[in-house]
Amino acid sequence: MFYREAGDFKTSYRDDNQTFPIRLDRAGYWIVLFVAFCVIPFFVNDYWVNSIFAPFFIYAIAALGLNILTGYAGQVSLGTGGFMAVGAYACYKLMVAFPDINIVFHVLIAGGITAAVGVAFGLPSLRIKGFYLAVATLAAQFFLVWLFNKVAWFYNYSASGQINAPERTVFGIIVTGPNTEAWAKYMICLVFLVGVAWVARNLTRGMTGRKWMGIRDMDIAAEIIGVNPLMAKMSAFAVSSFFVGIAGALFFAVYLGAAEAGESFGITKSFLVLFMVIIGGLGSIFGSFAGAAFMVLMPVLLKNVLVGTMGWPTEIAAELEFIIVGGLIVIFLILEPHGLAQLWRLTKEKLRLWPFPH
């Protein structure tokens, strides 16, 4: 009744092509942004930021990055953890080498370095596809983690191979290190997330995104109609790795503050981000958010309910978490193989007709 196109007149092509064609959607979008930027920062505390918002935002950036590569361009990657490690170590080396430069630039440059590494490891995608490409990116994952463990220069020869984020500021406000205020940590992650999501959305609905989708759906046909597969695949790898690199840099510098390659960026991280993308929905911006929210918030919520409220022993709660989250993944994928994003899409379709379906 309220959620419909009818009556929402568009008088220009620009209006017609906007991301949210329905008025209610647009309002919701602005309200969410308003709440995220102008309300939540005044109420967050350390627990909310460190356990919920920071991991959610950072994993959402990583999921957006992987979704561009796997969801939009159809190139399966198991190297996300390794690429996050590149972002983290690049950011660390930059932070230590140039302490006076704004951390935002370090994060962006770390993303750029990751993009270069991603392109290099993406080269095999020109010859191989599907499972074979997955294995090639798996090699990248293992090689990169091995590299950061083996070469002491990357961790500045510290005794244990750990990297620690020193204190850095943006406009005089501390955003890394232990003295960071909760709201500052929240805001830096949020700004990067909104920026990345905005770029991702606009890339994927423009020509670049259409080329990626052409390559994904049928590469030979795409080539015949004039898509250059080299450019399309390499640009997908570059953009995806750029986002994943930003996620890795924030993950280390802002969220954890200390990291080591094997523990923080191992193969489990690659799978975690891949699951987020699959559960959220391949080829969907909203899906990246939904998948990250599901995988990050669900365990925290279950832990709080089982241990905090019901007072169960921690180990039983921990095992049960695995069972419940695993079971939910299976149920979701059986009921809706296209992920949470498709559920959302179906809900919106139904809402348009409500309360008078044909």
Binding site: V32, D46, Y47, N50, S51, I52, P55, V96, N149, S158, A159, S160, G161, Q162, N164, P166, E167, G177, P178, N179, Y255, L256, G257, A258, A259, E260, G262, E263, S264, G266, F289, A290, A293, F294, L297, M298, V300, L301, K303, N304, V305, V307, G308, T309, P313, T314, E315, A317, A318, E319
Partner: protein, 428 residues
């Protein structure tokens, strides 16, 4: 997004519901799941049981009840952060996360929040320098003491000469396993042995490649920094290639009953370092049995009492309890804060008389913590496994380590940390 709102609402409700507690709170960031649970469970049980014993027998510490809220980390740093944030609001007095990775994470955070970290026998070794690491305590021994003690033991066996000997460090490829490398390298320069390091990746259930390399290189000694399931596998593999067990020396985290038992009698002769006594022939374990296990209040099933890792949990809990008592005496209040707890740790003195009163005579060394030295004496003994009898026995006395080599390393590493993080020395 609706899901997120539901989640947020529930979490908010839970956070409001948890009351502010007036007890002494020592959160236990334990891991009872995952590949390292074999070590995590007995440690968490020992820690919780000792605190329960204080509540049951003595009515707490200085008349104030002790609480040990547990939080499961699964040895994962992200979960460790979540656990730290969710428990620090309860009025946590000190953290003992039993993970070197999580310790590295918490050192700056806990220092900023004015909560001490107590990391006996693990964590960042250079935190022994209290001048830089004001809130971290790792007495009575650290990894570099351990590395040096192992080399001292090997020196004793070889009449003080290690020229041309081959020593392999088989280690967990993470912060914990890499800690001893600088010390072993430096000691190698001093004593003339060849050091080869062979890493084992998490979780370490598969070590064929590592042991093939050991078989090829035929080292004179293998030093081992492993944990959890990795230990059992390594000892089994050593038995399979018939590596002489008495030349295979583990750190204290690789020397528990559950590590050697799967290899059966073949594990006989395996050595491990330790910084406290072995067995259950101490009065405190009788009390634990009587007041905690038999009363049905044990954290676990009670079968671990007197085993190596359980004892270590008891020892760590005892230190924190003594420090809390010390803090109560220094500040003259029963309900101490975390800042006062830090003072209690820094001015802690453990005497043999006090150990006897606690029913732990001879269990650990006598020592005194000071502002500059948070590392304790670093006295370490070697224990050896007897597969037939099924028990560990000490084969050397507790003795010190080569501080001429270790102290410069501690100073250099902590100075680097101080420079990176702009920390001023706290002791003058």
């Amino acid at each position: 997004m609706t899901f997120k709102r539901v989640a947020a609402a529930s979490v908010a409700a839970l956070m409001v519901a948890s009351p502010v507690m007036a007890d002494l709170v020592f959160p236990s960031l334990s891991y009872r799941t995952g590949p390292f649970a074999a070590g995590g469970i007995p440690y968490a049980d020992g820690f919780a049981d000792y605190m329960t014993l204080l509540n049951e027998r003595d009515g707490g510490i200085g008349g104030v009840a002790v609480q040990v809220p547990e939080c499961e980390t699964a040895y994962n740093t992200e979960k460790g952060v979540e656990c730290y944030e969710s428990t620090k609001g309860m009025g946590a007095l000190a953290y003992n996360p039993l993970s070197t990775g999580i310790t590295y994470q918490l050192i700056p955070k806990a220092t900023a929040d004015d909560i001490p970290l107590y990391t006996p026998g693990y964590g960042r070794t250079s935190a022994a320098n209290g001048d830089v690491f004001s809130h971290v305590f790792n007495f009575p021994a650290n990894y570099w003491n351990g590395a040096s003690a192992a080399i001292n033991h090997v020196l004793d066996l070889n009449g003080g000469d290690l020229k041309g000997k081959k020593i392999v460090l088989l280690h967990f490829n993470g912060a914990y396993g890499k800690e001893p490398i600088p010390t072993l390298t430096k000691l190698g320069e001093k004593h003339g042995y060849d050091l080869t390091t062979i890493p084992i990746d998490y979780p370490g259930q598969e070590q064929k490649a590592q042991w093939l390399q050991i078989r090829r290189e035929k080292p004179d000694y293998v030093l081992f920094w492993g944990w959890g399931v990795m230990n059992q596998v390594a000892i089994q593999e050593a038995a399979n290639i018939r590596y002489p067990m008495d030349q295979f020396i583990g750190v204290w985290w690789s020397g528990a009953e559950h590590d050697v038992k799967p290899a059966g009698e073949k594990a006989t002769g395996y050595k491990a370092m330790t910084f406290h006594g072995v067995g259950s022939d101490y009065p405190v374990f009788g009390d634990l049995q009587k007041y905690v296990v038999d009363a049905g209040k044990a954290a676990g099933d009670g079968s671990n009492v007197g085993t190596v890792i359980y004892n270590r949990g008891v020892y760590a809990a005892m230190m924190l309890a003594e420090a809390a008592k010390n803090a109560q005496e220094i500040h003259g209040v029963a309900d101490i804060t975390s800042a006062q707890m830090r003072d209690g740790l820094e001015q802690l003195e453990i005497t043999n008389a006090r150990m006897a009163e606690l029913g732990m005579e001879g269990f650990g060394p006598e020592f005194k913590v000071s502002c500059a030295n948070h590392g304790g004496p670093g006295a370490i003994a070697i224990q050896q496994w007897d597969g037939a009898a099924g028990k560990w026995s000490l084969i050397t006395d507790f003795s010190g380590s080569d501080m001429d080599v270790i102290q410069p390393l501690i100073d250099a590493d902590s100075a680097a940390y101080a420079a990176e993080n702009k920390i001023d020395p706290q002791c003058n």
